[in-house]
């Protein structure tokens, strides 16, 4: 169980309706189905991930997030979740807006480009960071819109989105020790719980 998925579960009400954007192999939806008896769907475009969802009985619909969520009615879900996909979208801010139209609340996780390792890498090697978390070269990465925690919170403020919760996750020991004091410097992954 990934740490971020564990945190997300705490913010989702039992028997609610959940839409998971970029649901991957369906692990979160399966866990939520077992532990919270939610009903939900995942949207995914990667054929291999779709097959994993099908095999474990998770409802998955092939749909490209960059094409929008126009097929979903306002407020048709309790929570819309998107884990580690924000940075891959062409227009992330529009997708978040759509998430808050379709869901009462939304939960978003993304890698923090302001984490010290990324800053260190760019500052001293002069090259775009490549790490365990972001293992791609700049030219073939699916990650096209990086932001830091601070950037994201500014976006929320500009759009009057309310941040209900924020949790910072770090899998390294140093990061874990300092993530609460210096989140934008030490946190690897942020989990935001938003509402309109």
């Amino acid at each position: 169980m990934r740490i971020d998925l564990d945190v997300i579960q705490n913010w989702i009400a039992p028997e609610s309706r959940v839409l998971d954007l970029g649901c991957g192999d369906g692990e979160l939806l399966q866990q939520l189905g077992r532990n919270k008896r939610i009903s939900g769907y995942g949207l995914e475009i990667d054929p291999a991930q779709i097959e994993r969802c099908l095999e474990r009985g998770v409802s998955v619909v092939e749909q490209n997030l960059d094409a929008g969520l126009g097929n979903f009615a306002d407020g048709s879900f309790d929570t819309v979740v998107m884990t580690q996909a924000l940075q891959t979208l062409r227009q992330p801010h529009l997708v978040v807006r759509e998430m808050l139209r379709v869901g009462r609340e939304c939960i978003i996780t993304f890698p923090n480009f302001g984490q010290w390792k990324a800053r260190w890498h760019l500052a001293f090697s002069g090259r775009m960071p490549v790490s365990d978390l972001l293992p791609y070269e700049w030219y073939d990465t699916p990650n096209i819109h990086f932001c830091t925690f601070r950037d994201f919170e500014i976006l929320c403020r500009e759009n009057n989105w309310t941040i209900l919760h924020r949790q910072v996750v770090s899998e390294t020991r140093i990061g874990a020790a300092f993530k609460d004091f210096l989140p934008n410097l030490c946190g690897e992954t942020a989990i935001y719980h938003l509402t309109r």
Binding site: R17, S39, Y41, P47, I50, E51, R52, C53, L54, E55, R56, G57, V58, S59, V60, V61, E62, Q63, N71, F72, A73, S76
Partner: protein
């Protein structure tokens, strides 16, 4: 091997008439498990029949029409599932249809055979399930017109299926689709040998009309790209050399003629008319205030939908409409859009991703069945 059963209980039809008794021909593959929970029903499309998989004799040139997807180790794995495939009522492969004898007159039914709708097939299939001792299908599966039957199952008998697999189908046909079907029917009925549908009594057969109908259908079941890749402008005979007036025949011409001729020798024209009408009439949500969400809110099963990118008769949009309606109705649904250049026919043909998607889903269905046994 095909089996057949005469159903003596009268079947009330959507058109208001009643079939006093009728025969259904069917095949089964695999074995029914102890708690009868692993049965899968195959619903056929326009020109399908009961022989869906395998060969009756080793020397048979071609296996069943969906042999790519039914069999040991295939998506609908006959080592795990008990598969039932029938020839629908109104068909021409052994089940009661327009070419059968009307007991009231002692002559072939012909044009007097009652018009059928998808729900009539579903009700007759439910009686076949009763006969085989199947209270609940693990899955009802169909492509195209077969997918329409599968969806109708989910609304008419919500407790009698756990999964509904709908491939390259639609909640209703578009005007363009109805137009193609009408053109095909017109080709048949305007053949002088059609005799108002009483050709069997006159010992004639409107083969030319049926061949044209099939050719029209065939073109629309393929894609521009698919036909282009397969035939291009290749010539079968003749030449365009200057100074010659030899007649030229394109490969695609000869292919279509072969398709039309072989089909018209093995299919009943009245059945073709009946089946295309059933397609045209189908409208999943008609009786639910034209609201697909209201219709699907009656469903209790899970759905898998599959569409193919180059299918322009049952386009991916049609499947997405089904997915959207199901999601709005809070019914579990999965949907995959398969890249293919083969048009509507793709649902019958080998395709690696389609096979993997179908297998993954059916493995999930089988795993559930296994748990229920324990």
């Amino acid at each position: 091997m095909p089996q057949s059963h005469v159903f003596a209980e009268p079947l009330p039809l959507a058109c208001g008439r009643t079939l006093k008794d009728y025969t259904l021909v069917y095949e089964t593959y695999g074995a029914l498990n102890a708690d009868r929970s692993n049965a899968v029903l195959i619903c056929h499309a326009l020109s399908g029949h009961h022989h869906a998989a395998g060969r009756h004799r080793p020397e048979d040139k071609r296996p069943g029409w969906w042999d790519n997807y039914i069999g040991p180790g295939k998506p609908i794995d006959t080592d795990k599932f008990f598969v039932v495939s029938l020839n629908n009522l109104g068909g021409c492969h052994g089940s009661t249809g327009p070419a059968s004898i009307n007991p009231a007159t002692g002559k072939p039914w012909g044009p007097d055979f009652p018009p059928l709708r998808a729900r009539d097939w579903v009700h007759s299939q439910a009686r076949l399930a009763d006969l085989l001792g199947i209270d609940q299908w693990a899955a009802v599966v169909g492509g195209s017109l077969g997918g329409m039957q599968a969806m109708r199952w989910a609304l008419e008998y919500p407790e009698r299926l756990r999964h509904c697999v709908v491939i390259a189908s639609a909640m209703k046909l578009t005007a363009q689709n109805i137009a193609f079907n009408e053109t095909a029917r017109k080709a048949i009925t305007s053949d002088p040998d059609f005799c108002g549908g009483r050709y069997l009594e006159q010992e004639r057969l409107p083969r030319r009309g049926l061949a044209v109908a099939r050719m029209i259908g065939h073109i629309t079941y393929l894609s521009d790209d698919g036909l282009g890749k397969k035939f291009g402008r290749e010539l079968r005979s003749g030449t365009f050399s200057l100074g010659t007036d030899e007649e030229v025949e394109f490969q695609v011409q000869s292919y279509l003629r072969y398709q039309g001729d072989s089909f018209s020798g093995s299919f009943d024209p009245n059945t073709y008319i009946l089946m295309t009408r059933a397609l045209d009439y189908f409208d999943l949500a008609r009786e639910y205030g034209d609201d697909p969400v209201a219709a699907f809110s009656h469903a209790r099963c899970r759905f898998l939908l599959v569409s193919f990118t180059s299918d322009w008769r049952f386009a991916p949009e049609r499947s997405r409409e089904i997915a959207d309606a199901l999601m709005h109705a809070n019914v579990p649904v999965s949907y995959a859009e398969i890249e293919s250049a083969m048009g509507h026919d793709a649902f019958l043909l080998p395709n690696e991703r389609y096979q993997r998607v179908f297998t993954a889903y059916m493995n999930g269905v089988a795993a559930e069945t296994g748990r229920e046994v324990n």
